[in-house]
Symmetry: C2
């Protein structure tokens, strides 16, 4: 039907006859001539309809925005001064000989170039929304990214193997989406939260290097960067240690940025231990574009008169300082705003010192109501460790370590971007390694797995599994980029006895372990190779790359934050017959029936 | 950890030191020396352990089948006469210097080379089963096929776009798998039976060329070639007509066979109309390797005395003949078996004529009890149209057309393969085109869509939609290969008014159409381009290519015919808490509770 994409007709085609198909992006009538900007996936071209061909011109007069046309014409140079350098086709126009209206269109629900649309409107009319150049670009970028992942993995001996979507519910971690079985009354499949155990099975089966770009599901309350279904680039490999795995993954992600975006990431990526990341950035996914750092002063304030510091410092909490160079300029209003901001993360206040004169460790040099309650040694340590200069400001966090890290870690990023404490790099990847095996769940009074229960402990920490679980480090690694976790993985446990021991440490008894993970324990006994891997969140990576505000802008048909598809109106009611076949009832209806039976 | 894959060490590596990782495939002790066949994804290598290195030898003595080893050694030529031409590594062996046991293994549940395993055993111990070379090959082939599809489509401007897994239930066609919503009590998502409407939306949104390799779901009773979840290569394109779409698809499938299997498919593929395919082969997915053909004799037997023929022939049924060259040799027992076979397809018998002398149109030349009840004109027509020669046998089917086509169509294939009526080609693709738009559902007394309700009628048949739906042909096409339908598609309706008209022809009222497909009708009004596409069944294609007996042999973790995963034991019971969160109850349990309430 066509010889070219609209957006790809150029001066190289001058004097050629072309056939083009596309949408009427804009129609202008000017000096008795009709100009149509015809749009397709590749861009726009200007079509000129002269009144000297009466039949054609009559059709041109009838077309409206978003009509679908096929036109034939001849490529000619635009009159001097009317070129449009913003378009690939900007040097030329097509003099129209013939128009066919392939389909008419009603007036669209909104203008494609309207940037002030509510998300509800956009998602309800997603088909029209997807025509907007930004959405076209986002989805094309997503495609290029996925393709780049595949190309690299294909070229490095990784085999794409599909794992099941209808699988077993294991109520660990997040909430499962369940699928009632028709054939087995009262039983349910679960949609996978990740292909974790299947990819480990594939390693035991000898596939050596595996990947899959696949949907995963979590029925959790949604945040800006979460969707009920999300896409994971899932990777696993045998006979490689932690260093070898992270090296090939690093090469992979560098390739993806190069191939999809023409961006060169640094090489090698910096590495931080979890402990160091928390100490310096208060985060296990630090944004390294921001140059500010947290400084620990806990030891220096254990015995100060200021209880807000000495309390946490002397009872296992953390006191940390964040130096803001030139921060003496911050207004009272700004500081109030930051105080409110850290409150979101549970901080009960935001102490600070204005450094008027760094050489004077007293209330003259250091302006703050707290100074009089800090002794000289504390003040000296604070100034020395933060490297504060005259004119700076130092914020403090003092609380349980988690609150301090969350609050000052977030403040660090906010200040960095708002006040320009940035290193100037566009992309700052960082490996965070040496995660703890376990974290203590205060509510449930038990240890839980930091990564997942299949992660191997460091060889030299094996003994700690029993004696001191909190001190036991894991062969786990996360890849963070600009403050987002984009991937995470670990070396897995490949011996059944060690797996059982980790289950025990997590309070999963032998019977429960067998019921839930019997097939894994069996597999580990049939000759499992050393193996490990990682999974990337594709949606997040593309969101970062595109600069989109929401993960929903890089998904063709996303769900709202209420987990609905506004386009198709899913979820929806279903027939009673369908429920009967699945051996289930709605709870509400049933309660009514029970009442009837009682009443 | 390794320098080579086991299966890739060759004479090119002579005298090199190598490190290898893999599984003990076999261990033999011979003349005081231990031979280990070490296996990985790429194949086997022979490792020789001499007793002169005592530590290493002691370890070698301890290893058993399926232990995971890392070995170091030197490559040397095998002694003359002990080479194994079946192995890539067959000219060499590795003299072992060092062994590390990476993991021990219990005795496997079965020998990897045991070919007489029940499927239950294989699926229960799938991890071990997947180590068998045939299963490794099948999944590697599947990977190469998927990769070839992607390569071609990437190179031809098709964009991979992901469509949702949690979508809307539209109880048309097959039964949906449902997913209860936690956030919206009493409502359900459905897993997609295909991304059909989403890919049409993407065309309306202007993506121009789309593909996706994705899971689809149908909750139907399973047959040998069906699974609850299956994988579709889904393709859609805009601004192409039927001929252009089938041409690019044909190029695609030719590329896939070339790239994944080094097989050259014929070019161009033959094309058959649906009517001709049914007439000559009794099937819309004819196996063209078989040279036998059905011949229609309905018109010639309308008025014969033999009621078995004249009955169907005079009341809209079909009478067809299948000539078997040299079939006079078939034994009574064989014919009885064929008679039983066609019974599976509803045929109430299998009339036949042995052609003793094709020149004599009487009971002497034509041996059969039915001959005396067929008049001369009928006999002459039968002999002439079938081209029967002396020594042949002619089978007959006489019944409703569907029964005759199913029965003789299947008999044709069975006879062809059993008795060698084959054209000698390994791969016979064929396009079947010009499908009817509708077929009449005798049970429900209404027209249903042959392909799906979004398929466009032939331009010249548009008027028939209302006046004579049964005569209306569709722009639909199937690709059949060796008797299997491997792909099917159509040009879609791109105008809202035509879509409404087709819904009407299918008895879908305006209100119902809006409730179920309102978003499609809206999309068609916003400027939908002409578009069409096709979907391939990946599982089937790979099953065909691999020669596997079952689709389950080309899926890593399949479900049984009872829709269970024997490895993970899914589906399974779930916690009452999970059901409560999803606002559902089990039907059985509820009935018990109601009884308690009553009692």
């Amino acid at each position: 039907m066509r010889t070219h994409y609209c957006g790809q007709v150029t001066a190289a085609d001058l004097d050629q006859s072309v056939s083009l198909c596309g949408w009427v992006h804009r129609r202008r009538d000017h000096g008795g001539v009709i100009f149509i900007d015809l749009r397709d996936r590749e861009g726009l071209v200007q079509v000129v309809c002269d009144p000297d061909r009466a039949d054609m011109f009559a059709i041109a007069e009838s077309v409206r925005s978003e009509y679908v046309l096929r036109i034939e014409g001849r490529v000619r140079r635009r009159p001097a001064g009317t070129e449009n350098a913003a378009l690939t086709s900007g040097e030329i126009e097509v003099l129209c000989h013939d128009i066919e209206v392939l389909n008419a269109a009603v007036t669209p629900p909104f203008q494609l170039d309207d940037d002030n649309l509510s998300e509800t409107v956009r998602l309800t009319h997603r088909v029209v929304d997807l025509r907007r150049p930004q959405m076209q670009e986002n989805l094309m970028l997503r495609y290029r990214v996925a393709r780049a992942f595949r190309r690299f993995l294909d070229d490095h001996g990784f085999v794409d193997v599909e794992t099941p979507m209808l699988t077993k519910s294991t109520p660990e971690g997040a909430r499962d989406y369940l699928v009632p079985s028709r054939v087995h009354p009262g039983q349910f499949f679960a949609l996978p939260q990740s292909p974790q155990l299947f990819k480990q099975m594939l390693m035991v089966a000898g596939f050596d290097r595996y990947y899959q770009i696949t949907k995963c599901f979590r029925d959790e309350d949604l945040r800006a960067d979460r969707q009920p279904e999300f896409t994971q680039v899932d990777i696993e490999t045998s006979f490689m240690n932690e260093g070898e795995i992270t090296a090939v993954i690093e090469e992979l992600i560098r390739y993806v940025f190069q191939d999809a975006m023409d961006v060169e990431l640094p090489s090698p990526f910096p590495r931080l231990s979890y402990a160091e990341a928390m100490r310096r950035y208060g985060s296990d996914k630090p944004d390294l574009r921001v140059t500010l750092e947290l400084v620990d002063v806990t030891d220096a304030v254990e015995d100060v008169a200021f209880k807000v510091f000495s309390g946490p410092a002397s009872s296992g909490g953390r006191v940390a300082a964040l130096r803001v160079p030139g921060g003496g300029e911050l207004t009272r209003g700004e500081i109030d705003e930051y105080t409110k901001f850290v409150g979101i993360y549970g901080a009960r206040g935001l102490a600070y010192i204005k450094v008027n004169d760094a050489s004077k460790l007293n209330e003259e040099g250091l302006q703050s109501p707290i100074v009089k309650n800090l002794h000289q040694r504390a003040l000296a340590t604070i100034i020395e460790r933060t490297g504060a200069q005259s004119g700076d400001l130092i914020f403090f966090g003092a609380d349980k370590a988690k609150v301090v890290n969350d609050a000052l870690g977030a403040l660090r990023v906010k200040l960095g971007h708002e006040k320009g404490f940035l290193n100037g790099e566009a992309w700052c990847p960082v490996w965070v390694v040496d995660f703890p095996m376990f974290e203590y769940d205060e509510d449930e009074k038990r240890w839980t797995a930091c990564h997942h229960p299949f992660t191997a402990p460091k060889d030299e920490h094996f003994e700690l599994l029993e004696s001191d679980p909190g001190a036991c480090l894991a062969k786990a690694y996360d890849l963070a980029l600009n403050g987002w976790e984009i991937g995470g993985g670990s070396v897995r446990i490949h011996r059944a006895d060690m797996q059982s021991q980790v289950f025990r440490a997590l309070g999963i008894g032998e019977e429960e372990a067998r019921a839930k993970f019997g097939f894994l324990l069996d597999a580990l006994r049939y000759g499992a190779p050393p193996h490990g891997g990682l999974a990337f969140g594709l949606d997040r990576i593309v969101t970062l790359m595109s600069g989109a505000e929401s993960i929903r802008d890089v998904i063709a048909f996303p769900k709202t934050q209420r987990a609905q598809c506004l386009l198709t109106e899913a979820p929806s009611d279903v027939d009673e017959r369908q429920l009967r076949e699945l051996h289930i009832r709605l709870r509400q209806k049933v309660e009514t029936q029970v009442e009837v039976a009682k009443g």
